[in-house]
Structure formats: structure tokens, C-alpha cells
């Protein structure tokens, strides 16, 4: 039996028709739902307020530059500042010039932001960081007790400069005087020299016997600590500053040989009083407070930031 196309269509209709005719309402439900949804969307769109393009400068503003306002008060203040007369007495030309300049500045600022200048210029980055720091730093005026407490906690920062007069002799290891001398031998000689000096042997005799020479870093007169530090370096200064009058240091190994320091006169740094250092204490206190404010701000920013660090790197 051959099945014709018309037979197939008839069968299809026979299958669909009962479905459509079983619930007559269903035929309209879906189209109605679709229509209603579309209508609702259209209405919602129609009645949703859309920000209209700004064509009028709102009251209270002197201009809008790409939507960013220039406040009338800023304009008036600037005009008065530049013309040195009340705003009502400024000329039209002066007002025009001021507004022109303010618009120019706003345009340049906007351009700088568009170019992401903070990302491009180290100077701008630094300026932004400094500006933020000064804005964040809430400068609560310190009280006397704040300052005294800070001074007491940092007394070592407020010592007066000490002075010293000393001899710095050095044994150049393997010098022309004894080219075969090893470091170990030189160390032993220096230890023996120190022993003899402490026993009362004159310095010149010891120097001659062991081959010490004057380092040439001392003036032979009283010198302030800061000057000594510059002349002989931090390591030797640390040794020298602990010696008292007539005391002789242990041998100190340095890049140019083995040094021995003979202290002739030592005046240790005197602790300064709060009264003598209050200006410095005040300034240091504010700096410390500012550093703390910076740290607190960074702590807050880090806690609220999403920072990803590449593998192999650390923060």
C-alpha cells in the first residue's frame, strides 16, 4: 500500500487536532504571555527615567566640562583672588579669562586621567601618595605628657654628642716590613702588643717592636663623635666609643689590617633633658604619628584590596 503525501498530512492533523482542541484556552495562553511580557518591558522602559543629556548648567555651577561641574563659589573665589576686587567689580573680560583658565585646567586634568597619568608618571604617583598621606594624617595636637612619654621611650635618640681623643694604630698584615706575616701571626702579635700596652709599656716602643703604624685617621685632638665616626668608620667607632680614659681596645681586624685603639680622653654623650630637646621631640613625635597614620591607612587598604602576587614572588 502506497502512502501519499496527503495521507501523511492528514495523519499529522489527526494527531495534532485533538491536542489543540482538548484545552481550547491553551492555544492563547502562550501568545498572551509573550505579548504581556513584551508590553510590560515596553512600559517599564517607557517609564524608567533616563538621564537626559545635560544641556543646561545647573544653578550653583559656573560650567560643566564633559559633565564635570565647576562650582560657582570656586569661580567667584578664583576671580576675586586674581583681580583683587570683589566679584561684582570684576570685569567681563576678567571673568571670561578666569573661567576660560578653569575650563582649560579641568580639560587637562581630565586628559591626564584619561591617559592614566598616575600610571605613567613617577612624579604624579609620588605627588598622589604625598597628598593622600597629608590628607589621611589627622594631626591631633600632642599634649605635654604625650611628648614626655615619647621622649622617655626614645631617650637614646636625644643624647648630646660625645668627644674623644685617641690613637688609632694599625698593623698592616703582610706589609713590606714583614711580607711573610700571615693573618694568624699578625693577630697574635697584636694580642701581645695589647698585653704589653696594658702592662704599661710605652706606646712608641710597642709600635716599633711589632711594626704598628699610626692609621692617620685621627687628629690627635678632641673630636666630636660624629666626626670620629666619619674618620674611622662605624665598626672602629663602636669599639672606641666604649673605651674610657687610658683604656686600650682589643685588636680589631679591618680591611687594612689589625687596629688597636688607645683612648687618651673620652667624654661620653650626655643624656639631653626634655627641655633642651623639646623642639626635636615635637617634630619627631609628629613624624612618628604620621608614619603610624600611613601604616594604619595601608593596613586598612590592604585588608580591603584584592592583591594577587605571581608565583615565585612574595610581598
Amino acid at each position: 500500500m502506497v502512502q501519499t503525501a496527503s495521507d501523511g498530512q492528514a495523519k499529522l492533523i489527526d494527531r495534532i487536532l485533538p491536542i489543540l482542541t482538548r484545552r481550547p484556552g491553551r492555544t492563547f495562553i502562550l501568545p498572551l504571555l509573550g505579548g504581556a511580557t513584551g508590553l510590560a518591558l515596553a512600559l517599564a522602559n517607557l517609564f524608567t527615567p533616563v538621564a537626559p543629556p545635560v544641556t543646561v548648567v545647573p544653578a550653583g555651577y559656573a560650567a560643566l566640562v564633559n559633565g564635570r561641574p565647576i562650582l560657582m563659589n570656586d569661580f567667584i573665589t578664583q576671580a576675586e583672588k586674581l583681580s583683587n576686587v570683589p566679584f561684582s567689580q570684576t570685569t567681563v573680560a576678567q571673568k571670561r579669562q578666569v573661567l576660560h583658565d578653569m575650563i582649560d585646567e579641568e580639560l587637562l586634568v581630565q586628559r591626564a586621567l584619561a591617559l592614566d597619568l598616575p600610571e605613567q608618571s613617577d612624579e604624579v604617583r609620588m605627588e598622589l601618595v604625598n597628598s593622600l598621606t597629608s590628607i589621611v594624617f589627622a594631626q591631633r595636637p600632642p599634649t605635654q605628657s604625650d611628648l614626655v612619654a615619647y621622649f622617655n621611650a626614645n631617650r637614646s635618640n636625644y643624647l648630646g654628642d660625645g668627644q674623644m681623643r685617641f690613637r688609632d694604630i694599625v698593623l698592616h698584615v703582610g706589609s713590606y716590613q714583614d711580607v711573610d706575616q700571615t693573618i694568624g701571626q699578625a693577630q697574635a702579635d697584636a694580642t701581645e702588643a695589647v698585653y704589653q700596652l696594658r702592662a704599661g709599656t710605652p706606646l712608641d716602643a710597642v709600635m716599633e717592636h711589632f711594626g704598628f703604624v699610626d692609621s692617620g685617621h685621627t687628629s690627635g685632638e678632641d673630636e666630636f663623635d660624629f666626626a670620629v665616626k666619619l674618620h674611622i668608620g662605624q665598626a672602629l667607632f663602636n669599639v672606641a666609643s666604649k673605651l674610657t680614659d687610658g683604656e686600650i681596645s682589643d685588636p680589631v681586624r679591618a680591611s687594612d689590617g689589625i687596629h688597636v685603639i688607645v683612648m687618651e680622653h673620652r667624654q661620653p654623650p650626655q643624656p639631653a633633658t626634655y627641655e633642651a630637646k623639646r623642639e626635636a621631640v615635637y617634630s619627631d613625635y609628629l613624624q612618628a604619628a604620621q608614619r603610624k597614620a600611613e601604616q594604619d591607612n595601608l593596613k586598612f587598604l590592604r585588608a580591603n584590596a584584592k592583591i594577587l602576587i605571581a608565583s615565585g614572588q612574595s610581598d
Binding site: L71, M72, I76, P86, P141, Q144, R278, Y282
Partner: protein, 253 residues
């Protein structure tokens, strides 16, 4: 019964309509006048009594909500916090124009806002060791002399040397002590004291310095309310004769 209900409904609807219309009218009228006080130059608003009255009515609730906690509900300030008396005719910063008052309201004083008034502060002369206690004592006597109050003449002469020399007080307060509105340095000759004017307080303020803060209200209070506040404060200060303000200050100090 149905007829009564019907009439009641009509009456209710009419009342609702009238009330709605009144509310819309009030809102429209307020917006129009807000727009007017902002559109005119600040000083020009003062020439429109209707707008000044409107501004005063608008400003008072804002003052109560934002300013009264420091400056007091009566605008008389607070010597303990250094909040100035806003009812007198003495201003710290700038000229006493509406624009200047508005600027202080917009950006504040030492408010951390970049445009805030923050040129200088009163240094802590004693704390920093810039002046000795004795020198501060002399300076206090000179300040008393400047404001024409009883003082120790000999100490005041020495204080004058401090004022014009080592203390460099003249740099902000001017050689004659008349202050500088650019720095917010008070006029020391008018006997108006934001922080109290007795000897001990003056000594304390020279010793520890001063750096009070007024918040910036731009972006917090609508622009038209800030303008209204400025107009109100200006009108108050100009209603108060300087002599009255001075007398009040003497009384309070």
C-alpha cells in the same frame, strides 16, 4: 446610606486632590526659589528680601541638624571647643561676604578636603620650646594690652618684643595685632575670644597651639541649603552691631 457614602467619597477625593495640589505647589515653589538663590551671585541674593527670608527658613533646620552641636543652638559658639560665635560680626577667614562664608561651609577648615582653609595653624610655642614660659607670660600681657584690658605694663612691653620678634606672632596676627583673614588669624584687638579670653586660657593656647576643625559640607548638604546657610549667617552677622558683639565677648570672657 449609600448616598452618604457616595458624598463622603467625593469629599475625600476632593480633599486628596487639593492636598496633592498644595504639596505639588509647595514643592514647585521651593524648587523655584532654591534655583533662584543659586542662580544669582551670592551677594545679589541679599538684595532680594523675599529670597533672604526663604533662605533663613530653609537654613534653620539644616543648622540645627549639622552645625548646632558645635556652634550651639543659639549660634553663640563654644569656648571649650573653640567653635566661634556665629551671631557676632567678627569673622576669622576672608571677608565677611556670603561667598566667603559659603566657601567655609563647602570645604571646611582643616577638614582634610584639599580646598579646605588650611593655610596655617597656631603653633605650640611652649610645647615646641620656641618660647620659654616666662616669654609666653610676657606675650600674654601684651595680648591683654592689645585688647585694652588690664595688664602688667612692664611685662607687656617685654611681650611686645616677643610678639614682634622671637615669637613672630606678627607674621599671622599682623604687627598691630589686627589679624589676617587669609590665614584665619584672629584679630586680637576686638576682644572676641573663640577659645576664651582669660589670662590662663591665652597662656594655654600660646603654649599648646590651636588647630580646630570645621567639616566640609560639600556633597553632604545640598548646594542650595549651603547657600541658604551662608545667607542666613551673613544676615545675622550684619544685624549684630560690632559694639554689641564686642560687649558680648567681654561679658563672656
Amino acid at each position: 446610606m449609600p448616598v452618604f457614602s457616595h458624598r463622603l467619597l467625593i469629599a475625600l477625593a476632593a480633599c486628596t486632590l487639593l492636598g496633592g495640589a498644595a504639596a505639588v505647589w509647595e514643592r514647585w515653589s521651593t524648587d523655584r526659589r532654591d534655583n533662584q538663590i543659586l542662580s544669582l551671585a551670592p551677594e545679589d541674593v541679599l538684595r532680594r528680601p523675599d529670597l533672604v527670608s526663604f533662605a533663613i527658613a530653609e537654613a534653620k533646620p539644616v543648622y540645627r541638624a549639622r552645625c548646632a552641636s558645635c556652634h550651639g543652638a543659639d549660634l553663640k559658639g563654644n569656648v571649650r571647643t573653640g567653635a566661634p560665635d556665629l551671631s557676632d560680626s567678627v569673622w576669622l577667614y576672608d571677608t565677611d561676604s556670603v561667598t566667603a562664608i559659603e566657601r567655609t561651609l563647602l570645604y571646611g577648615i582643616r577638614s582634610r578636603q584639599p580646598k579646605a582653609r588650611n593655610v596655617a595653624e597656631m603653633p605650640a610655642f611652649g610645647l615646641r620650646g620656641l618660647l620659654t614660659p616666662a616669654e609666653i607670660g610676657d606675650a600674654v600681657q601684651y595680648v591683654l594690652a592689645l585688647s585694652k584690658r588690664p595688664n602688667l605694663a612692664e611685662a607687656a612691653v617685654a611681650g611686645r618684643q616677643i610678639f614682634l620678634g622671637k615669637g613672630m606672632c606678627y607674621d599671622c596676627h599682623g604687627p598691630d595685632g589686627s589679624g589676617s583673614p587669609d590665614y584665619g588669624a584672629p584679630n586680637l584687638t576686638v576682644n572676641v575670644w573663640n577659645n576664651g579670653g582669660d589670662q590662663n586660657t591665652i597662656y594655654h593656647n600660646i603654649y599648646y597651639g590651636l588647630a580646630h576643625v570645621c567639616p566640609a559640607w560639600y556633597g553632604v548638604i545640598p548646594l542650595e541649603r549651603i547657600r541658604a546657610l551662608a545667607i542666613w549667617l551673613h544676615s545675622i552677622s550684619h544685624a549684630a552691631p560690632a559694639a554689641v558683639a564686642s560687649a558680648r565677648a567681654i561679658k563672656s570672657s
